[in-house]
């Protein structure tokens, strides 16, 4: 038999280009058989009918400015149109929707709080800035004090003054550091070291010098802010989207670390830790959130020592945080279980301690599996905060529903609810989109 042999690598050929025209796609997918044609026609008609009805009601016949509901009808009549959406009610109530019953002269504090948060968190997404983890930790641990004071105001004790000063110092440092990183590519500590001529000292001395500088800045800020006061706004007047975002923001910030702690506790070898964690998780997962909220507002005071009074808002926030930490714990546990046993073994064999193994090997890998579930939990948390309207906190949803109780706008149901739906959609869809972006960036999952 003669051997068959080829010595040359024939090389790769280009794949043939396939052209699909719009018409052929339509023919194949929508009009291929007679019943498909029927379904397509019916489908097109339904879509057309719904869209034109919404468009007519919401835009063509809509009234954007009016004194009250009757005025809306009159304007429609005068224009010769059928009744359309009375968006005027939504626009006049907009401040209530956004801020609740917060005093109108103090709204700038809420806006400032939001702007400060945006500035504080922005460096995390800027590519050239280093130390993103430190920035993230400072947002979680320092921003709440600054924002908390801005929003509630009034007298503040020494502890609050310390934390507010620390927050201001940290924020200024982060802003300066980010600007320096973007412009020159160096970090703030490095710049300070060279500017003050400390480069010759050892690393430890440099660190001490920078800490001394930070302490000096802190003292200056402390002295400066001690005379600075804003009028008090009782939490009862917090409301609207502002209150919703405060509750869900704190819930989100707590849920992930709390969930990680509970998940690790549930997997722990120490029996007491394991039993407590499991019990905690299972109890909170077996009870609806509304029940937890009711129990928190009625039973919580029974568990606290004498004379220790918590206001309702704090009770609600604690309940929301614990509830979501338990759901997050199960998500985290699923992610931990997805890590192959070999990773744990390799870490053990190298002599890594428990926390080193978790922090360097397991968690970084597990987190990217958990992203869809984590962000899903956050989206659920944002929507679940609407339940607080049932126990008497005036969040965004209760404001939306309060419009129809207002005398000039009696009976205005659809317009505020639709507006609320649009707002929630924007918030939740953005989170969902961001989660998809994170998944692709971190390369976890199938990336399809």
């Amino acid at each position: 038999m003669t051997a068959i042999a080829s010595d040359q690598d024939t090389g790769q050929k280009k794949a043939p280009k396939i052209q699909i025209s719009v018409l052929s796609w339509l023919r194949e997918n929508l009009f291929s058989t007679w019943y498909n044609v029927v379904f397509t026609v019916i489908g097109i008609y339904i879509v057309y009918a719904v869209i034109t009805a919404l468009w007519d009601w919401g835009f063509v016949n809509a009234v954007w400015e009016a004194k009250d509901r009757r005025d809306c009808f009159n304007i429609n009549k005068a224009r010769g149109q059928p009744p359309g959406a009375c968006w005027a009610g939504v626009t006049t109530w907009m401040t209530n929707f956004m801020y609740g019953r917060y005093p109108r002269t103090e709204l700038w504090r809420i806006d400032l709080g939001g702007i400060l948060l945006a500035i504080w968190m922005a460096p995390i997404w800027l590519p050239r800035v280093k130390g993103k983890i430190i920035i993230a930790f400072s947002v979680v641990f320092l921003y709440p004090f600054l924002a908390g004071y801005l929003f509630s105001g009034g007298e503040r004790g020494v502890f609050m003054q310390v934390m507010v000063s620390a927050a201001i110092v940290m924020l200024t440092a982060i802003v300066v550091h980010s600007l320096i990183s973007l412009i020159t590519g160096r970090t703030l500590p490095a710049l300070l070291v060279s500017a003050l001529g400390l480069a010759a000292l050892s690393e430890k001395m440099q660190r001490n010098a920078l800490l001394a500088l930070a302490a000096l800045a802190f003292a200056l800020v402390f002295w400066w802010q001690s005379g600075w006061l804003v009028p008090e706004v009782n939490w009862v007047n917090w409301g609207g989207l502002f209150l919703t975002l405060v509750i869900s923001g704190i819930g989100i910030a707590f849920a992930l670390p709390g969930g990680i702690t509970l998940a690790l506790g549930r997997r722990s070898k120490l029996p007491v830790v394991r039993v407590l964690s499991t019990g905690f998780i299972e109890i909170f997962r077996s009870v609806p959130l509304i029940t937890v909220l009711f129990m928190a507002t009625t039973m919580f005071p029974l568990f606290l020592p004498e004379g220790f009074i918590l206001n309702k808002l704090v009770q609600v926030i604690v309940a929301v945080c614990l509830f979501n930490a338990c759901y997050m714990a199960e998500t985290v546990r699923a992610g931990l279980q997805a890590i192959p046993k070999g990773q744990y073994e390799a870490a053990h064999a190298m002599g890594l301690g428990y926390w080193q193994m978790m922090g360097f090997v397991v968690m970084p890998q597990a987190l990217k599996y958990m992203i869809p579930n984590i962000v899903g939990s956050f989206i659920g948390l944002l929507k679940d905060t609407t339940l607080v309207s049932i126990i008497g906190l005036f969040d965004f949803l209760s404001m939306l529903r309060a419009v129809s109780q207002d005398v000039p706008w009696r009976g205005l149901h659809y317009e505020p609810i639709m507006f609320g739906a649009v707002v929630f959609f924007i918030l939740c869809a953005s989170m969902s989109k961001y989660s998809r972006h994170l998944e692709i960036k971190l390369g976890g999952g199938a990336n399809r």
């Binding site: 192959p340 070999g342 990773q343 073994e345 390799a346 053990h348 064999a349 190298m350 002599g351 890594l352 301690g353 080193q356 360097f360 090997v361 970084p364 890998q365």
Partner: protein, 264 residues
Amino acid sequence: MVEMTEQTSQRERLESAASTEVIIELAGVNKWFGEFHVLRDINLSVHRGERIVVCGPSGSGKSTLIRCINRLEEHQEGLIAVDGVTLDKNLKHIDQIRSEVGMVFQSFNLFPHLTVLENLTLAPIWVRKMPKAEAEEIAMQYLERVKIPEQADKYPGQMSGGQQQRVAIARALCMSPKIMLFDEPTSALDPEMIKEVLDVMIELAGTGMTMLVVTHEMGFAKTVANRVIFMDGGEIVEQNEPEEFFNNPESDRTKLFLSQILLH
């Protein structure tokens, strides 16, 4: 014939005989997985500098045996002592032993989210508290020893199996262990990559490292091992010098096993 000569000459170079000091002692070790008796009355003394190859059919307990040595598995009965430290429930002892014993796994178990250099320096920096620069220098030295220094900034997923296993060997060596355990290091590799890993292991043997290797690569056993141990059904059936073991097996079970595998 050519192979035999190559192996014998390599053997002669490696004849630096093992010392008489016992570095791993297993006495009366028994282990059960639930009701299944997986290690039966194991008695074994490993001397410093000795190279031992453990072979046997699957399910014979060879991997379990070496995994007991660094406490990846717990033994229920018997004594295991590594470099004078007894292996028991005392966490300090376990940590001490793990810092002296390096392990290479069949599935490499590299950390996929870290670069090769980060994989190698993780333990020295955080367990031995070495400064980063020093750890990276040592890591690069070991990467050069396993002949892939240019891969230092790549991720494990970007390398072939043979390269990944060599990185795993370098990673274990970065902790300067006294003993190296190998759990079927080449079983998950394509045949053309087995040689590059075995070459690294042969070079390592030449430096006097105590090695305990579970493998099916009998050529490696003939070249490097001081002792070949055959395990079956959880027991050590036969152990001997490689020459004697392959040419004059004594037990019937050994003979059966040898007849079933290709000796190349």
